[in-house]
Symmetry: C2
Subunit: 308 residues, 2 copies
C-alpha cells in the first residue's frame, strides 16, 4: 500500500491528504435539511448528512489528491449511524482510487491491539469465512504501550500489505507535556522516532517503509530532526492550515527525492466555503470551494519545495 | 458516577470489575450455532452471538459485582454489527444497575478528543435535540497527547457526572519501553500519575476524584508508589488472573479505607468454563462457571486485604 500511496502522490504531484473530519456545523443547510427530512433529525439523519457531504467533496477533489484521512472520532460521536457513514466513506474513497488513512489512534495491550488491527486493517475469521470490518489502507497508532502494543498492527500490515502512521510528535499545543520530556538529554519523541525506524526496517516497500510516523506541522524544527532519525519512514504531517502550519514550515519533513511526507488539511479544505477567500462559491457550491482550496494548498507546498 | 461506583463496591463487598471482552472462541457452540442459523455465519451472526453470550454472563453475575468493563476493540473487529452488540451490552448492564467502564483508550488533539468524549460519555447536538451515542459511565483515556488531549474528556465528565481512568502504567510486558523512561531520575509514569492527581483535584466526589488511573496488577511495586502519588484517584487494575496478577499483589493498590482500587478480570471470568477448575460446569452452563469464578476472585482479593 505504501507503493500505491507513492504512485498516487507522483501521479497527482500533490503530497497531501484531505482530512474528512466532518462537523455538523460545516455541512451546508441544503444537505442537512434533506437528510433530516428523509431520516429524521437524529443520529441516522446526521449520518446521512455526513455521508452526502463527504461524497460531494470526494467527487470534486479525488482526481487532484492521493489520499484521504477520515478521523473516526467525528463519526463515532454519532454512534452506529455515524460509524456506518465512516465505513461508507472508506469504501467510496477506495472505489475512487484514493488511499484511505483511518485516523483512529488505537493502541492497547497485545491481544487487544490485535483486535483493533483486525478491525481497521485486517479480516476477522467467522467460521470458515473471513470478513473485513472497516478495511482502511493505513491506520494511525498510539505508541504509549510500547512494542507489544504496536507489533500486532505490524503483523496485520505484513499480511494485508497495508501500513501505519505511529504518533511520534503530535501537532497540539500541549504535546510537549510528555513527548518533549528529556531522557538522558533527548526528548521522548526522538526515542519513539527511533523505535518507528527500527520497526520499519522489516517492512520495506521499494524505497520507503510502510511503518510511518505522525509529526505535527506546528513543530518544524522537530520535524527536521525526526526526518533524519527516520529516513525511510513516511511522515504524516497534520496541523497545516487551520492549526497554523504553512508550506514553508514543511520542507524539512520531505526528503531530497520530494517524497517521504504527506501533509494533511481537514477544516481548511472541507469547510473552505466558510473562509472569506472562498466565500464566493457559497454553501451550494461548497465542494467547488474545497477543490479550489486543494489547488491552493498543492501550489503552496509545491512552491515551498521548489524554493528550498 | 464515582459515588455510584463506590456505593456498588460497598454493597457487593467486591472491588472488582468483569471485563466483557468476548472472543468468538470463548463462546460455546450452542450460542454461536443459534446465532449463525438466525443471522448467518457473518458479522451480524457474530454480533448476535457476542450479545447473547454477554447477556447470560451478566444475568448470572450482576448481583455480585459493581461494574463491567467492555473492551471496545473486541466488538470493533466485527464492524457495525459488533459495535451494535457493544452498545446493547452497555445499555443492558446499566439497566441491571452496573457501572459501565468503556475500555476505549481514546485520546487525540483537543477538538478530536472532544468528539470522542461526546461519543462515549456525552451527548451530541443535532438540531434542537441531544443524543447519546455510546453512553458509558466511565471511559479509559490515553495521555500521550498531554493536557489538551485529556481536558475535553474532563469537561464532559463534569457536565455529565461521569468519570475517566487515564493510562498511567499499563499491564503489558513492554509497557516500560516508554512509560519507565527516567526523566530527571523519575519514570514517565510517575509524571503522568502526578498529572492525573492534578487533573483530579477539581473533580471530586466525596472522598475520591472521578478522574482515575489505570495501573497494571503485573507491576505491584509501581502500584504502591502510584497509590501515594494519586491518593484521591481510583485505580483501575487490569492484569489479574490470566495476565498473571494475584490477590496478594494487589493490596498496595488500595487505600486504608479498603477503597481506591477496582480490579479487572476478563478471560478468567467470562471464559472460566474453559479452565480445569470450572470444567465441571461444561459449555452449556458457562455462565454458572463465570459466577463461581467471580466468587473465587472476590474471596482471593478479600482475603489478601484482610491479611495485609
Amino acid at each position: 500500500m505504501i507503493q500505491k500511496l507513492i504512485a498516487n502522490i507522483q501521479k497527482t504531484h500533490a503530497p497531501i491528504v484531505v482530512g474528512l473530519d466532518p462537523m455538523l456545523n460545516y455541512i451546508p443547510e441544503h444537505i442537512t435539511k434533506k437528510a433530516f427530512a428523509e431520516f429524521g433529525e437524529n443520529l441516522e439523519g446526521a449520518g446521512e448528512a455526513i455521508w452526502q457531504y463527504n461524497k460531494e467533496i470526494v467527487d470534486h477533489t479525488y482526481d487532484l489528491i492521493p489520499a484521504v484521512k477520515p478521523q473516526i472520532a467525528m463519526y463515532e460521536q454519532f454512534g452506529i449511524p455515524g460509524l456506518a457513514a465512516f465505513k461508507r466513506t472508506v469504501d467510496y474513497c477506495k472505489e475512487k482510487g484514493l488511499v484511505v488513512i483511518g485516523d483512529v489512534k488505537r493502541g492497547d495491550i497485545g491481544s487487544t491491539s490485535a483486535a483493533y488491527a483486525t478491525a481497521h486493517l485486517g479480516k476477522v475469521q467467522i467460521g470458515s469465512k473471513a470478513y473485513a470490518a472497516f478495511d482502511e489502507d493505513f491506520a494511525t497508532v498510539n505508541p504509549y504501550l510500547g512494542s507489544d502494543g504496536v507489533k500486532p498492527f505490524i503483523e496485520v500490515c505484513k499480511q494485508e500489505k497495508k501500513g501505519l502512521f505511529i504518533l511520534v510528535k503530535t501537532s497540539n499545543p500541549s504535546s510537549g507535556e510528555f513527548q518533549d520530556q528529556l531522557i538522558d538529554g533527548r526528548p521522548l519523541y526522538e526515542l519513539v522516532g527511533e523505535k518507528v525506524a527500527e520497526w520499519g526496517v522489516d517492512c520495506m516497500g521499494e524505497d520507503y517503509s510502510y511503518i510511518g510516523a505522525v509529526v505535527g506541522a506546528t513543530y518544524p524544527e522537530m520535524g527536521k530532526v525526526l526526518r533524519k532519525i527516520m529516513p525511510k519512514s513516511f511522515i504524516l504531517v497534520p496541523g497545516y492550515g487551520a492549526q497554523g502550519g504553512k508550506g514553508a514550515d514543511l520542507v524539512h519533513f520531505f526528503n531530497e527525492d520530494g517524497l517521504g511526507a504527506i501533509v494533511n488539511s481537514s477544516r481548511g479544505i472541507i469547510a473552505a466555503y466558510k473562509q472569506e477567500k472562498y466565500a464566493k462559491f457559497g454553501p451550494e457550491h461548497f465542494a467547488e470551494a474545497s477543490r479550489a482550496a486543494v489547488e491552493d494548498m498543492v501550489e503552496d507546498i509545491d512552491s515551498a519545495l521548489r524554493n528550498r
